[in-house]
Protein backbone atom coordinates (compact mmCIF):
# COMPACT_ATOMS: atom_id res chain seq x y z
CA UNK A 1 0.00 0.00 0.00
CA UNK A 2 1.19 3.51 -0.74
CA UNK A 3 0.11 6.77 0.80
CA UNK A 4 -2.63 8.59 -1.07
CA UNK A 5 -2.59 11.59 1.23
CA UNK A 6 0.58 12.68 2.99
CA UNK A 7 0.46 15.51 5.45
CA UNK A 8 3.79 16.64 6.80
CA UNK A 9 4.65 19.16 9.49
CA UNK A 10 1.38 21.05 8.99
CA UNK A 11 0.93 24.16 11.17
CA UNK A 12 -1.69 26.87 11.46
CA UNK A 13 -2.07 29.81 13.84
CA UNK A 14 -5.19 31.86 14.38
CA UNK A 15 -4.01 35.05 16.00
CA UNK A 16 -2.11 33.78 19.02
CA UNK A 17 -3.78 30.39 18.99
CA UNK A 18 -1.80 27.47 17.66
CA UNK A 19 -4.66 25.49 16.10
CA UNK A 20 -2.48 22.85 14.45
CA UNK A 21 1.18 22.32 15.20
CA UNK A 22 3.68 20.33 13.12
CA UNK A 23 1.17 17.59 12.36
CA UNK A 24 2.15 14.70 10.12
CA UNK A 25 0.12 11.68 9.08
CA UNK A 26 -0.73 9.68 5.99
CA UNK A 27 -3.82 8.01 4.55
CA UNK A 28 -2.98 4.77 2.72
CA UNK A 29 -4.65 3.95 -0.57
CA UNK A 30 -7.95 2.18 0.14
CA UNK A 31 -7.78 2.69 3.90
CA UNK A 32 -9.89 4.46 6.49
CA UNK A 33 -7.95 6.72 8.83
CA UNK A 34 -9.82 8.01 11.89
CA UNK A 35 -9.00 11.41 13.33
CA UNK A 36 -10.13 11.79 16.92
CA UNK A 37 -9.50 14.15 19.78
CA UNK A 38 -11.31 16.31 22.33
CA UNK A 39 -13.36 19.32 21.24
CA UNK A 40 -11.12 22.10 20.03
CA UNK A 41 -8.23 19.73 19.30
CA UNK A 42 -8.03 21.10 15.74
CA UNK A 43 -9.62 18.24 13.80
CA UNK A 44 -11.85 20.35 11.56
CA UNK A 45 -8.99 22.79 11.07
CA UNK A 46 -6.93 19.91 9.69
CA UNK A 47 -9.71 19.25 7.15
CA UNK A 48 -9.83 22.92 6.25
CA UNK A 49 -6.06 22.95 5.73
CA UNK A 50 -6.11 19.82 3.61
CA UNK A 51 -8.91 20.94 1.30
CA UNK A 52 -7.75 24.53 0.99
CA UNK A 53 -10.35 26.45 2.99
CA UNK A 54 -7.38 27.80 4.99
CA UNK A 55 -3.81 28.04 3.76
CA UNK A 56 -1.36 26.50 6.25
CA UNK A 57 1.39 28.62 7.82
CA UNK A 58 3.86 25.78 7.35
CA UNK A 59 4.00 22.21 6.16
CA UNK A 60 2.97 20.33 3.06
CA UNK A 61 -0.01 18.37 1.81
CA UNK A 62 0.66 15.79 -0.90
CA UNK A 63 -2.32 14.15 -2.58
CA UNK A 64 -1.63 11.31 -4.99
CA UNK A 65 1.94 12.54 -5.21
CA UNK A 66 0.87 16.05 -6.14
CA UNK A 67 1.55 19.05 -3.94
CA UNK A 68 -1.84 20.60 -3.14
CA UNK A 69 -0.66 22.76 -0.24
CA UNK A 70 -2.62 26.01 -0.10
CA UNK A 71 -4.53 25.32 -3.31
CA UNK A 72 -8.00 26.96 -3.43
CA UNK A 73 -10.84 24.58 -2.37
CA UNK A 74 -12.29 24.24 -5.87
CA UNK A 75 -8.92 23.16 -7.26
CA UNK A 76 -8.49 20.63 -4.47
CA UNK A 77 -11.94 19.26 -5.28
CA UNK A 78 -10.96 19.08 -8.93
CA UNK A 79 -7.95 16.97 -8.02
CA UNK A 80 -10.24 14.24 -6.68
CA UNK A 81 -10.66 15.02 -3.01
CA UNK A 82 -14.17 15.52 -1.62
CA UNK A 83 -15.39 16.41 1.85
CA UNK A 84 -18.49 16.74 3.97
CA UNK A 85 -19.12 19.42 6.57
CA UNK A 86 -19.69 18.94 10.26
CA UNK A 87 -22.46 21.53 10.06
CA UNK A 88 -24.46 20.53 7.00
CA UNK A 89 -24.29 23.00 4.10
CA UNK A 90 -27.01 21.97 1.64
CA UNK A 91 -28.09 24.15 -1.27
CA UNK A 92 -31.44 24.62 0.42
CA UNK A 93 -33.64 25.56 -2.55
CA UNK A 94 -32.19 22.91 -4.86
CA UNK A 95 -33.54 19.39 -4.90
CA UNK A 96 -31.56 16.45 -3.58
CA UNK A 97 -30.69 15.45 -7.14
CA UNK A 98 -29.54 18.97 -8.09
CA UNK A 99 -27.35 19.13 -4.98
CA UNK A 100 -25.68 15.91 -6.08
CA UNK A 101 -25.39 17.12 -9.67
CA UNK A 102 -23.32 20.09 -8.46
CA UNK A 103 -21.02 17.64 -6.71
CA UNK A 104 -20.73 15.47 -9.80
CA UNK A 105 -20.27 18.27 -12.34
CA UNK A 106 -17.54 20.13 -10.56
CA UNK A 107 -15.71 17.37 -8.72
CA UNK A 108 -12.68 15.40 -9.79
CA UNK A 109 -14.26 14.02 -12.95
CA UNK A 110 -15.41 17.40 -14.32
CA UNK A 111 -18.42 15.74 -15.95
CA UNK A 112 -20.78 17.33 -18.44
CA UNK A 113 -24.29 17.96 -17.13
CA UNK A 114 -26.02 14.87 -18.52
CA UNK A 115 -23.37 12.46 -17.27
CA UNK A 116 -23.42 14.26 -13.92
CA UNK A 117 -27.16 13.66 -13.62
CA UNK A 118 -26.60 9.91 -13.79
CA UNK A 119 -23.65 9.97 -11.38
CA UNK A 120 -25.74 12.09 -9.00
CA UNK A 121 -28.61 9.62 -9.12
CA UNK A 122 -26.26 6.76 -8.29
CA UNK A 123 -24.65 8.65 -5.44
CA UNK A 124 -28.08 9.42 -3.97
CA UNK A 125 -28.92 5.74 -4.25
CA UNK A 126 -25.77 4.68 -2.43
CA UNK A 127 -26.72 6.71 0.64
CA UNK A 128 -30.40 5.71 0.46
CA UNK A 129 -31.87 8.98 -0.81
CA UNK A 130 -33.19 7.55 -4.08
CA UNK A 131 -36.81 8.18 -3.14
CA UNK A 132 -36.15 11.83 -2.22
CA UNK A 133 -34.50 12.96 -5.45
CA UNK A 134 -36.96 15.79 -6.12
CA UNK A 135 -37.32 16.91 -2.51
CA UNK A 136 -35.86 20.35 -1.81
CA UNK A 137 -32.83 19.91 0.44
CA UNK A 138 -34.34 22.25 3.02
CA UNK A 139 -37.15 19.76 3.65
CA UNK A 140 -34.89 16.85 4.62
CA UNK A 141 -34.51 15.78 8.24
CA UNK A 142 -31.12 16.22 9.86
CA UNK A 143 -30.29 12.59 9.09
CA UNK A 144 -31.34 13.21 5.51
CA UNK A 145 -29.16 16.30 5.25
CA UNK A 146 -26.19 14.35 6.62
CA UNK A 147 -26.75 11.71 3.98
CA UNK A 148 -27.05 14.43 1.35
CA UNK A 149 -23.66 15.83 2.41
CA UNK A 150 -22.22 12.41 1.84
CA UNK A 151 -24.06 11.84 -1.45
CA UNK A 152 -22.90 15.17 -2.84
CA UNK A 153 -19.29 14.36 -2.00
CA UNK A 154 -19.64 10.85 -3.43
CA UNK A 155 -21.19 12.10 -6.65
CA UNK A 156 -17.84 13.67 -7.48
CA UNK A 157 -16.41 10.11 -7.57
CA UNK A 158 -13.44 11.16 -5.45
CA UNK A 159 -10.33 9.15 -4.65
CA UNK A 160 -10.31 10.43 -1.10
CA UNK A 161 -13.28 11.38 1.06
CA UNK A 162 -12.98 13.58 4.15
CA UNK A 163 -15.92 12.89 6.46
CA UNK A 164 -16.46 15.43 9.23
CA UNK A 165 -18.72 13.90 11.89
CA UNK A 166 -21.26 12.35 9.55
CA UNK A 167 -22.66 10.31 12.45
CA UNK A 168 -23.23 13.18 14.88
CA UNK A 169 -26.88 13.86 15.61
CA UNK A 170 -28.15 10.59 14.19
CA UNK A 171 -30.15 8.07 16.19
CA UNK A 172 -28.77 4.53 16.69
CA UNK A 173 -30.64 3.05 13.73
CA UNK A 174 -29.45 5.84 11.44
CA UNK A 175 -25.89 5.46 12.75
CA UNK A 176 -25.99 1.76 11.91
CA UNK A 177 -27.18 2.51 8.35
CA UNK A 178 -24.56 5.19 7.87
CA UNK A 179 -21.80 2.86 9.05
CA UNK A 180 -22.86 0.34 6.43
CA UNK A 181 -22.84 3.05 3.78
CA UNK A 182 -19.31 4.09 4.77
CA UNK A 183 -18.14 0.46 4.66
CA UNK A 184 -19.60 0.09 1.18
CA UNK A 185 -17.86 3.26 0.01
CA UNK A 186 -14.52 1.98 1.21
CA UNK A 187 -15.19 -1.38 -0.38
CA UNK A 188 -15.67 0.42 -3.69
CA UNK A 189 -12.07 1.63 -3.48
CA UNK A 190 -12.42 5.13 -2.05
CA UNK A 191 -10.00 6.04 0.72
CA UNK A 192 -11.45 7.83 3.73
CA UNK A 193 -10.19 10.25 6.34
CA UNK A 194 -12.83 10.72 9.01
CA UNK A 195 -13.44 12.75 12.12
CA UNK A 196 -15.86 11.20 14.58
CA UNK A 197 -16.82 11.55 18.21
CA UNK A 198 -18.74 8.33 18.33
CA UNK A 199 -16.01 6.07 19.67
CA UNK A 200 -17.47 2.67 18.98
CA UNK A 201 -18.18 3.62 15.39
CA UNK A 202 -14.78 5.04 14.60
CA UNK A 203 -12.97 2.25 16.39
CA UNK A 204 -14.76 -0.36 14.33
CA UNK A 205 -14.51 1.50 11.01
CA UNK A 206 -10.92 2.76 11.03
CA UNK A 207 -7.84 0.86 9.99
CA UNK A 208 -5.67 3.30 11.88
CA UNK A 209 -6.37 6.18 14.19
CA UNK A 210 -4.61 9.48 14.80
CA UNK A 211 -5.35 11.24 18.08
CA UNK A 212 -5.10 14.99 18.15
CA UNK A 213 -4.85 17.15 21.26
CA UNK A 214 -4.32 20.92 21.27
CA UNK A 215 -3.35 20.79 17.62
CA UNK A 216 -0.62 18.19 18.11
CA UNK A 217 -0.49 14.48 17.47
CA UNK A 218 -0.94 12.68 20.75
CA UNK A 219 -0.93 9.12 19.47
CA UNK A 220 -1.25 7.06 16.35
CA UNK A 221 -1.86 3.39 15.80
CA UNK A 222 -4.38 0.61 15.42
CA UNK A 223 -7.73 1.33 17.08
CA UNK A 224 -7.04 -1.10 19.92
CA UNK A 225 -3.61 0.40 20.65
CA UNK A 226 -4.95 3.91 20.72
CA UNK A 227 -7.89 2.98 22.91
CA UNK A 228 -5.59 1.65 25.57
CA UNK A 229 -3.02 4.43 25.42
CA UNK A 230 -2.94 6.16 28.84
CA UNK A 231 -2.08 9.51 27.27
CA UNK A 232 -5.15 9.31 25.05
CA UNK A 233 -7.39 8.34 27.92
CA UNK A 234 -6.06 11.20 29.98
CA UNK A 235 -6.67 13.68 27.17
CA UNK A 236 -10.26 12.55 26.91
CA UNK A 237 -11.07 12.20 30.58
CA UNK A 238 -8.56 14.59 32.07
CA UNK A 239 -7.80 12.36 35.03
CA UNK A 240 -5.60 9.25 34.81
CA UNK A 241 -7.02 7.86 38.05
CA UNK A 242 -10.57 8.12 36.72
CA UNK A 243 -9.41 6.60 33.44
CA UNK A 244 -7.83 3.64 35.22
CA UNK A 245 -10.97 3.18 37.25
CA UNK A 246 -13.12 3.18 34.11
CA UNK A 247 -10.84 0.75 32.33
CA UNK A 248 -11.00 -1.60 35.30
CA UNK A 249 -14.78 -1.43 35.34
Amino acid sequence: MSALLEVSELSKNFGGLQAVHALSFAVEEGAILGLIGPNGAGKSTVFNLVNGVFAPDAGRVLFGGQDITGLRPHLVARSGLARTHQIVQPFAVMSVLENCIVGACFGGKNMPLEEAREAARQAAMRVGLEDRLDTPASQLTIAGKKRLELARALAAQPRLLLLDEVLAGLNPTEVERMIQVIRAIRASGVSILMIEHLMQAIMSLSDRIVVLNSGQKLAEGLPAEVANDPAVIEAYLGDPALAAELRAA
Binding site: V53, A82, C105, F106
Partner: protein, 322 residues
Protein backbone atom coordinates in the same frame (compact mmCIF):
# COMPACT_ATOMS: atom_id res chain seq x y z
CA UNK B 1 -32.70 20.46 -31.15
CA UNK B 2 -34.02 19.51 -27.73
CA UNK B 3 -34.70 23.19 -27.13
CA UNK B 4 -37.52 23.18 -29.68
CA UNK B 5 -39.43 20.62 -27.66
CA UNK B 6 -39.49 22.75 -24.54
CA UNK B 7 -42.59 24.90 -23.95
CA UNK B 8 -40.40 27.82 -22.94
CA UNK B 9 -39.07 28.16 -26.46
CA UNK B 10 -42.56 28.50 -27.93
CA UNK B 11 -43.68 30.94 -25.26
CA UNK B 12 -40.62 33.04 -26.02
CA UNK B 13 -41.37 32.90 -29.74
CA UNK B 14 -44.99 33.91 -29.16
CA UNK B 15 -44.03 36.87 -26.98
CA UNK B 16 -41.49 38.11 -29.52
CA UNK B 17 -44.06 37.73 -32.31
CA UNK B 18 -46.58 39.78 -30.34
CA UNK B 19 -44.00 42.50 -29.70
CA UNK B 20 -43.08 42.50 -33.38
CA UNK B 21 -46.52 42.37 -34.92
CA UNK B 22 -48.92 44.26 -32.64
CA UNK B 23 -47.64 47.85 -33.03
CA UNK B 24 -46.87 47.43 -36.73
CA UNK B 25 -50.24 45.90 -37.60
CA UNK B 26 -52.09 48.72 -35.89
CA UNK B 27 -49.58 51.38 -36.87
CA UNK B 28 -49.76 52.37 -33.24
CA UNK B 29 -46.74 54.55 -32.34
CA UNK B 30 -47.83 54.98 -28.75
CA UNK B 31 -48.06 51.22 -28.25
CA UNK B 32 -44.66 50.84 -29.90
CA UNK B 33 -43.07 53.32 -27.49
CA UNK B 34 -44.64 51.58 -24.51
CA UNK B 35 -43.46 48.16 -25.69
CA UNK B 36 -40.02 49.59 -26.44
CA UNK B 37 -39.68 50.63 -22.82
CA UNK B 38 -40.98 47.22 -21.74
CA UNK B 39 -38.36 45.54 -23.93
CA UNK B 40 -35.62 47.62 -22.28
CA UNK B 41 -36.90 46.83 -18.80
CA UNK B 42 -37.08 43.13 -19.67
CA UNK B 43 -33.53 43.24 -21.02
CA UNK B 44 -32.18 44.97 -17.92
CA UNK B 45 -34.12 42.79 -15.49
CA UNK B 46 -33.24 39.50 -17.21
CA UNK B 47 -29.57 40.34 -17.20
CA UNK B 48 -29.44 41.54 -13.63
CA UNK B 49 -31.30 38.37 -12.71
CA UNK B 50 -28.29 36.28 -13.72
CA UNK B 51 -26.26 38.14 -11.08
CA UNK B 52 -29.01 38.59 -8.48
CA UNK B 53 -31.18 35.53 -8.93
CA UNK B 54 -28.59 32.96 -10.02
CA UNK B 55 -25.32 33.95 -8.37
CA UNK B 56 -26.92 35.78 -5.44
CA UNK B 57 -24.99 39.01 -5.84
CA UNK B 58 -26.95 42.27 -5.56
CA UNK B 59 -25.74 44.64 -8.25
CA UNK B 60 -27.18 48.08 -7.49
CA UNK B 61 -25.13 49.71 -10.22
CA UNK B 62 -26.03 47.52 -13.20
CA UNK B 63 -27.19 50.62 -15.09
CA UNK B 64 -23.53 51.49 -15.63
CA UNK B 65 -23.48 48.85 -18.39
CA UNK B 66 -26.47 50.44 -20.12
CA UNK B 67 -24.99 53.93 -19.86
CA UNK B 68 -21.48 53.01 -20.95
CA UNK B 69 -22.84 50.99 -23.86
CA UNK B 70 -24.80 54.07 -24.86
CA UNK B 71 -21.75 56.30 -24.64
CA UNK B 72 -19.48 54.00 -26.63
CA UNK B 73 -22.08 53.58 -29.37
CA UNK B 74 -23.07 57.25 -29.62
CA UNK B 75 -19.47 58.40 -29.55
CA UNK B 76 -18.32 55.94 -32.22
CA UNK B 77 -21.20 56.93 -34.49
CA UNK B 78 -21.03 60.66 -33.86
CA UNK B 79 -17.31 61.29 -33.70
CA UNK B 80 -15.97 58.47 -35.85
CA UNK B 81 -18.74 57.80 -38.30
CA UNK B 82 -19.17 54.12 -37.42
CA UNK B 83 -22.32 52.42 -38.71
CA UNK B 84 -24.90 51.46 -36.07
CA UNK B 85 -24.27 47.70 -36.12
CA UNK B 86 -20.51 48.03 -35.66
CA UNK B 87 -20.95 50.62 -32.91
CA UNK B 88 -23.38 48.33 -31.06
CA UNK B 89 -21.05 45.35 -31.25
CA UNK B 90 -18.13 47.50 -30.12
CA UNK B 91 -20.20 48.85 -27.23
CA UNK B 92 -21.24 45.39 -26.06
CA UNK B 93 -17.70 44.04 -26.30
CA UNK B 94 -15.97 46.99 -24.67
CA UNK B 95 -18.39 47.21 -21.75
CA UNK B 96 -18.26 43.47 -21.18
CA UNK B 97 -14.45 43.55 -21.12
CA UNK B 98 -14.48 46.45 -18.70
CA UNK B 99 -17.00 44.60 -16.51
CA UNK B 100 -14.63 41.63 -16.41
CA UNK B 101 -11.87 43.87 -15.08
CA UNK B 102 -14.15 45.51 -12.49
CA UNK B 103 -15.65 42.14 -11.61
CA UNK B 104 -12.32 40.49 -10.85
CA UNK B 105 -11.76 43.34 -8.39
CA UNK B 106 -15.06 43.88 -6.63
CA UNK B 107 -16.28 40.28 -6.63
CA UNK B 108 -13.83 39.53 -3.85
CA UNK B 109 -16.39 41.32 -1.71
CA UNK B 110 -19.56 39.68 -0.57
CA UNK B 111 -23.06 40.67 0.52
CA UNK B 112 -23.58 44.27 1.53
CA UNK B 113 -20.00 45.21 0.72
CA UNK B 114 -20.34 44.03 -2.84
CA UNK B 115 -23.68 45.82 -3.23
CA UNK B 116 -22.12 49.08 -2.01
CA UNK B 117 -19.15 48.70 -4.31
CA UNK B 118 -21.45 48.38 -7.33
CA UNK B 119 -22.95 51.76 -6.51
CA UNK B 120 -19.36 52.99 -6.29
CA UNK B 121 -18.61 51.66 -9.77
CA UNK B 122 -21.61 53.47 -11.23
CA UNK B 123 -20.88 56.75 -9.46
CA UNK B 124 -17.17 56.50 -10.26
CA UNK B 125 -17.80 55.93 -13.95
CA UNK B 126 -20.32 58.77 -13.99
CA UNK B 127 -17.80 61.13 -12.36
CA UNK B 128 -15.18 60.08 -14.88
CA UNK B 129 -17.47 60.59 -17.88
CA UNK B 130 -18.67 63.94 -16.55
CA UNK B 131 -15.07 65.12 -16.69
CA UNK B 132 -14.08 63.32 -19.87
CA UNK B 133 -13.79 65.92 -22.62
CA UNK B 134 -13.91 63.57 -25.67
CA UNK B 135 -17.37 62.47 -24.50
CA UNK B 136 -18.57 66.02 -24.01
CA UNK B 137 -18.12 66.11 -20.25
CA UNK B 138 -21.23 67.16 -18.35
CA UNK B 139 -23.03 68.42 -21.46
CA UNK B 140 -22.84 65.03 -23.20
CA UNK B 141 -22.96 64.16 -26.89
CA UNK B 142 -25.55 65.14 -29.49
CA UNK B 143 -26.02 63.11 -32.66
CA UNK B 144 -26.91 64.71 -35.97
CA UNK B 145 -30.33 63.66 -37.34
CA UNK B 146 -28.46 62.83 -40.54
CA UNK B 147 -27.30 59.63 -38.84
CA UNK B 148 -30.85 58.28 -39.16
CA UNK B 149 -30.58 58.46 -42.95
CA UNK B 150 -28.87 55.08 -43.50
CA UNK B 151 -31.91 53.49 -41.79
CA UNK B 152 -34.32 55.26 -44.14
CA UNK B 153 -34.95 58.51 -42.30
CA UNK B 154 -36.12 59.20 -38.72
CA UNK B 155 -39.55 57.53 -38.95
CA UNK B 156 -38.14 54.31 -40.40
CA UNK B 157 -35.17 54.40 -38.03
CA UNK B 158 -37.43 54.42 -34.99
CA UNK B 159 -39.12 51.24 -36.19
CA UNK B 160 -35.75 49.63 -36.91
CA UNK B 161 -34.49 50.54 -33.44
CA UNK B 162 -37.65 49.10 -31.94
CA UNK B 163 -37.21 45.77 -33.73
CA UNK B 164 -33.57 45.62 -32.76
CA UNK B 165 -34.51 46.20 -29.12
CA UNK B 166 -37.11 43.44 -29.31
CA UNK B 167 -34.31 41.22 -30.65
CA UNK B 168 -32.06 42.21 -27.73
CA UNK B 169 -34.91 41.41 -25.35
CA UNK B 170 -35.40 37.97 -26.93
CA UNK B 171 -31.67 37.33 -26.77
CA UNK B 172 -31.67 38.30 -23.09
CA UNK B 173 -34.46 35.87 -22.28
CA UNK B 174 -32.83 33.10 -24.26
CA UNK B 175 -29.45 33.76 -22.65
CA UNK B 176 -31.06 33.69 -19.25
CA UNK B 177 -32.65 30.32 -20.08
CA UNK B 178 -29.54 28.90 -21.72
CA UNK B 179 -27.32 29.83 -18.78
CA UNK B 180 -29.76 28.43 -16.25
CA UNK B 181 -29.81 25.03 -17.94
CA UNK B 182 -26.04 24.86 -18.41
CA UNK B 183 -23.33 23.58 -16.15
CA UNK B 184 -22.22 27.20 -15.72
CA UNK B 185 -25.72 28.04 -14.48
CA UNK B 186 -25.69 25.09 -12.08
CA UNK B 187 -22.48 26.46 -10.60
CA UNK B 188 -23.96 29.97 -10.34
CA UNK B 189 -27.07 28.70 -8.55
CA UNK B 190 -24.83 26.82 -6.13
CA UNK B 191 -22.80 29.99 -5.50
CA UNK B 192 -26.04 31.88 -4.93
CA UNK B 193 -27.15 29.51 -2.22
CA UNK B 194 -23.91 28.76 -0.42
CA UNK B 195 -20.72 30.06 -1.92
CA UNK B 196 -18.38 28.27 0.50
CA UNK B 197 -20.05 24.91 -0.04
CA UNK B 198 -20.00 25.48 -3.79
CA UNK B 199 -16.29 26.14 -3.70
CA UNK B 200 -15.62 23.04 -1.62
CA UNK B 201 -17.55 20.98 -4.17
CA UNK B 202 -15.29 22.30 -6.91
CA UNK B 203 -17.21 25.22 -8.41
CA UNK B 204 -14.54 27.69 -9.64
CA UNK B 205 -16.23 30.56 -7.81
CA UNK B 206 -13.93 33.51 -8.64
CA UNK B 207 -13.97 32.72 -12.37
CA UNK B 208 -17.71 32.05 -12.54
CA UNK B 209 -18.63 35.22 -10.67
CA UNK B 210 -16.48 37.41 -12.89
CA UNK B 211 -17.82 35.64 -15.97
CA UNK B 212 -21.47 36.19 -15.09
CA UNK B 213 -20.82 39.82 -14.14
CA UNK B 214 -19.22 40.36 -17.52
CA UNK B 215 -21.86 38.35 -19.40
CA UNK B 216 -24.68 40.30 -17.76
CA UNK B 217 -23.16 43.49 -19.18
CA UNK B 218 -23.26 42.63 -22.90
CA UNK B 219 -26.95 42.92 -23.78
CA UNK B 220 -27.71 45.90 -21.50
CA UNK B 221 -24.79 47.70 -23.17
CA UNK B 222 -26.26 47.02 -26.61
CA UNK B 223 -29.71 48.10 -25.41
CA UNK B 224 -28.10 51.30 -24.10
CA UNK B 225 -26.51 51.90 -27.50
CA UNK B 226 -29.87 51.57 -29.22
CA UNK B 227 -31.72 53.66 -26.68
CA UNK B 228 -29.33 56.60 -26.79
CA UNK B 229 -28.99 56.40 -30.55
CA UNK B 230 -32.77 56.74 -30.64
CA UNK B 231 -32.61 59.80 -28.36
CA UNK B 232 -29.70 61.13 -30.46
CA UNK B 233 -28.43 62.55 -27.21
CA UNK B 234 -26.63 61.23 -24.15
CA UNK B 235 -25.45 62.89 -20.97
CA UNK B 236 -24.22 61.48 -17.66
CA UNK B 237 -27.33 61.81 -15.46
CA UNK B 238 -29.46 59.95 -18.04
CA UNK B 239 -26.86 57.31 -18.78
CA UNK B 240 -25.98 56.46 -15.19
CA UNK B 241 -29.36 56.87 -13.55
CA UNK B 242 -29.09 55.05 -10.23
CA UNK B 243 -32.85 55.23 -9.86
CA UNK B 244 -33.40 53.09 -12.95
CA UNK B 245 -30.78 50.72 -11.59
CA UNK B 246 -32.73 50.28 -8.37
CA UNK B 247 -36.00 49.89 -10.25
CA UNK B 248 -34.41 47.03 -12.20
CA UNK B 249 -33.78 45.17 -8.96
CA UNK B 250 -37.37 45.76 -7.83
CA UNK B 251 -38.56 44.41 -11.18
CA UNK B 252 -36.47 41.26 -10.98
CA UNK B 253 -37.59 40.60 -7.42
CA UNK B 254 -41.22 41.43 -8.18
CA UNK B 255 -41.30 38.94 -11.03
CA UNK B 256 -39.28 36.28 -9.25
CA UNK B 257 -35.51 36.32 -9.03
CA UNK B 258 -33.77 33.18 -10.17
CA UNK B 259 -36.55 32.22 -12.58
CA UNK B 260 -36.27 32.85 -16.33
CA UNK B 261 -39.67 34.38 -17.08
CA UNK B 262 -40.18 36.05 -13.68
CA UNK B 263 -38.13 39.17 -14.42
CA UNK B 264 -39.86 39.53 -17.78
CA UNK B 265 -43.33 39.39 -16.23
CA UNK B 266 -42.17 41.81 -13.54
CA UNK B 267 -40.75 44.20 -16.14
CA UNK B 268 -43.90 44.18 -18.21
CA UNK B 269 -46.20 44.81 -15.24
CA UNK B 270 -43.90 47.46 -13.83
CA UNK B 271 -43.73 49.31 -17.12
CA UNK B 272 -47.52 49.28 -17.41
CA UNK B 273 -47.84 50.60 -13.88
CA UNK B 274 -45.22 53.25 -14.46
CA UNK B 275 -46.70 54.60 -17.66
CA UNK B 276 -50.16 54.60 -16.13
CA UNK B 277 -48.87 56.61 -13.17
CA UNK B 278 -46.79 58.93 -15.32
CA UNK B 279 -49.80 60.03 -17.31
CA UNK B 280 -51.83 60.86 -14.26
CA UNK B 281 -51.42 64.47 -13.20
CA UNK B 282 -51.04 64.04 -9.45
CA UNK B 283 -49.13 60.76 -9.43
CA UNK B 284 -46.29 61.29 -11.87
CA UNK B 285 -43.14 59.71 -10.44
CA UNK B 286 -45.33 58.07 -7.85
CA UNK B 287 -43.94 54.75 -9.16
CA UNK B 288 -40.94 55.28 -6.91
CA UNK B 289 -43.13 55.27 -3.82
CA UNK B 290 -44.92 52.20 -5.12
CA UNK B 291 -41.70 50.41 -6.02
CA UNK B 292 -40.43 51.03 -2.49
CA UNK B 293 -43.58 49.57 -0.97
CA UNK B 294 -43.52 46.69 -3.45
CA UNK B 295 -39.92 45.84 -2.61
CA UNK B 296 -40.72 45.75 1.10
CA UNK B 297 -43.79 43.59 0.51
CA UNK B 298 -41.85 41.14 -1.68
CA UNK B 299 -38.95 40.81 0.70
CA UNK B 300 -41.29 40.28 3.65
CA UNK B 301 -44.06 38.15 2.18
CA UNK B 302 -43.04 36.65 -1.15
CA UNK B 303 -39.28 36.31 -1.46
CA UNK B 304 -39.83 34.19 -4.58
CA UNK B 305 -41.72 37.00 -6.30
CA UNK B 306 -44.64 36.50 -8.63
CA UNK B 307 -43.12 33.50 -10.40
CA UNK B 308 -42.10 31.91 -7.10
CA UNK B 309 -45.67 32.26 -5.85
CA UNK B 310 -47.10 30.79 -9.06
CA UNK B 311 -44.68 27.85 -8.98
CA UNK B 312 -45.63 27.11 -5.39
CA UNK B 313 -49.32 27.01 -6.24
CA UNK B 314 -48.89 25.13 -9.51
CA UNK B 315 -45.57 23.24 -9.44
CA UNK B 316 -46.11 22.07 -13.03
CA UNK B 317 -45.69 25.65 -14.22
CA UNK B 318 -42.04 25.54 -13.25
CA UNK B 319 -41.13 23.17 -16.05
CA UNK B 320 -43.26 25.07 -18.58
CA UNK B 321 -42.15 28.62 -17.81
CA UNK B 322 -38.68 27.84 -16.41
Amino acid sequence: MATLRRPFFWILAAVVALFAVLPAARGDIELRESLLLAAIYITLASNINMMLGYAGYVNFGSIVFFGLGGYVCVWLMGAHGWPLAAALVAGGTAVSALALVFGLGILRLRGVYFALSTIGVNEGVMAFVTNFAPWGGSSGIYLSPALFQPLGGPAQALWAIYYLLVGVMAASLYLSYFVKRSKFGMGLLAIGQNEDAASVLGVPTPRYKAAVYSLSAVLPAIAGGLYFFKSAFIQPPDAFDLQLSTETIVIAMLGGQGTVVGPAIGAFLYEQLRSWLLTSESFSHFQLVISGVLLLAIVLFAPGGLAGWLYRRWPRLRSILE
